[in-house]
Amino acid sequence: MNVDDLALLAPSAHSLAVRGRLGDAIRRDGHARLEPALTEAFAVQCLRALRGADFIAAQRVDPDEGFQIWRFDWDPAHPSPCLDHPLCALGRAFQSDLLGWLEAVTGLALASPDLPFEAQRLGKGGFLDPHAHDRAEPPRLGLLLHLATAPWPPTWGGHDEVASAIETTDEGTTLHRPTVLAPAWNALDIVDLHRFPWHRVPLLTRHVDAFRMTFRFREVTSSDLRR
């Protein structure tokens, strides 16, 4: 694979310096941000596609593990395959060229990302209480692609938080010393989920215009290699 031929990533992502900086940050901090992530034209295409997507509201009323989100799931292979849709193009890239780019950055051997891919529309009233994905066999990397047209302060809520552990306070369960991943226009957070398995989104109390997409990757195992 020639990582310099990638068409969807921002040109700066191809440079050895940027890739080296990202890799160093992931190994040192368990987290790195690529900004800008996509070419501007492709980011705008994705934003338009997300604005036209049918997001489904999902909720759980629970004092400690509740959520209220708007999500849109898709699989780039269906409908068979969706060739001209930007989200499908992005999904296919994360299964091929961008997967290689991610391996080059992290030095990890990664399997194709978990399906379906998930996009979320951030909205007033949305929140995700502390949770961990697949605690028995957590994915190795989590990617958050932010497409927020305007930033907002953390006091409004809606900022992703990741952490190594949870803690219980008088206010309930929360994250222990969280790392905050602020919404931004066209930014990609790469998170080591073995270092930061816990995730939370505090209640968003204002109307915003923002989406984000999540991708989760597992390391290639010996059984994968045998196949």
Binding site: V61, P63, Q68, K124, L203, T205
Partner: protein, 214 residues
């Protein structure tokens, strides 16, 4: 069938004075004993549906349970009392307090609105054909400070300055004028793990000028 707690002539006169001064009034312990409890228990025993609306710039997000008058199941017996309250007793009481000839909106049923963490109702005015008065029948047993949201707020015309604030109540009836005194109001986003349950609606009528006979 009696749904409202009895009130003396003095109490009614005091409510009229409060209405004349502020065009809004709260009736505490408004319902006959046990009716609020029975309504809350009956409603919470049945499923609520996610309710999200986006009309022009007004957005709302909460949970709603709609019960049709003619299909209410037998175990939902308090619904008959609620219908009598909404269609008969409440318009009569509101007419006596406000001096307007008020009648209920002819609906096919009733909606219970439930707010949980993350629920809200953006600023609006309730303007609608012949609507004069809005009512809130409070069925909320939890209590919490206003800074956690979920209280009904009346705003100045700038739609940001809070002029007045009504906490959720249990067994309460709040009446407030929506015409001719137009007041923007909202329920700020509820940030705490509590529940706010109420029945909300409007009373309609022909506007009567001071001195005219309703």
């Amino acid at each position: 069938m009696r749904t409202l707690a009895p009130r003396s002539a003095e109490q009614l006169a005091a409510l009229r004075r409060t209405w004349a001064e502020s065009r809004r009034v709260r009736l505490s312990d408004a319902l006959v004993p046990d009716l609020a409890r029975d309504l809350a228990l009956s409603a919470t025993a049945r499923p609520f549906h996610y309710f999200e609306r986006h009309v022009n710039e007004v957005r709302a997000l909460f949970w709603r349970q709609t019960v049709a008058w003619d299909t209410a199941p037998s175990e939902f017996a308090p619904i008959a009392a609620l219908r009598h309250l909404i269609e008969v007793d409440l318009p009569a009481l509101a007419s006596a307090i406000t001096g307007q000839a008020l009648r209920a909106v002819q609906d096919q049923g009733v909606a219970f609105d439930l707010y949980t963490r993350g629920s809200y109702l953006d600023t609006h005015t309730d303007q609608g054909a012949e609507r004069l008065i809005a009512y809130v029948i409070g069925l909320t047993e939890d209590a919490w400070p206003a800074e956690d949201g979920g209280h009904l707020e009346f705003l100045a015309p700038d739609e940001s300055t809070v002029l007045d604030r009504i906490p959720p109540g249990f067994g309460t009836i709040d009446l407030f004028c929506i015409y001719p005194l137009v007041r923007p109001h909202r329920v700020p986003i509820l940030t705490r793990q509590v529940t706010r349950l109420s029945v909300n609606g409007w009373l309609t009528g022909e506007l009567v000028a001071p001195g005219e006979r309703p």
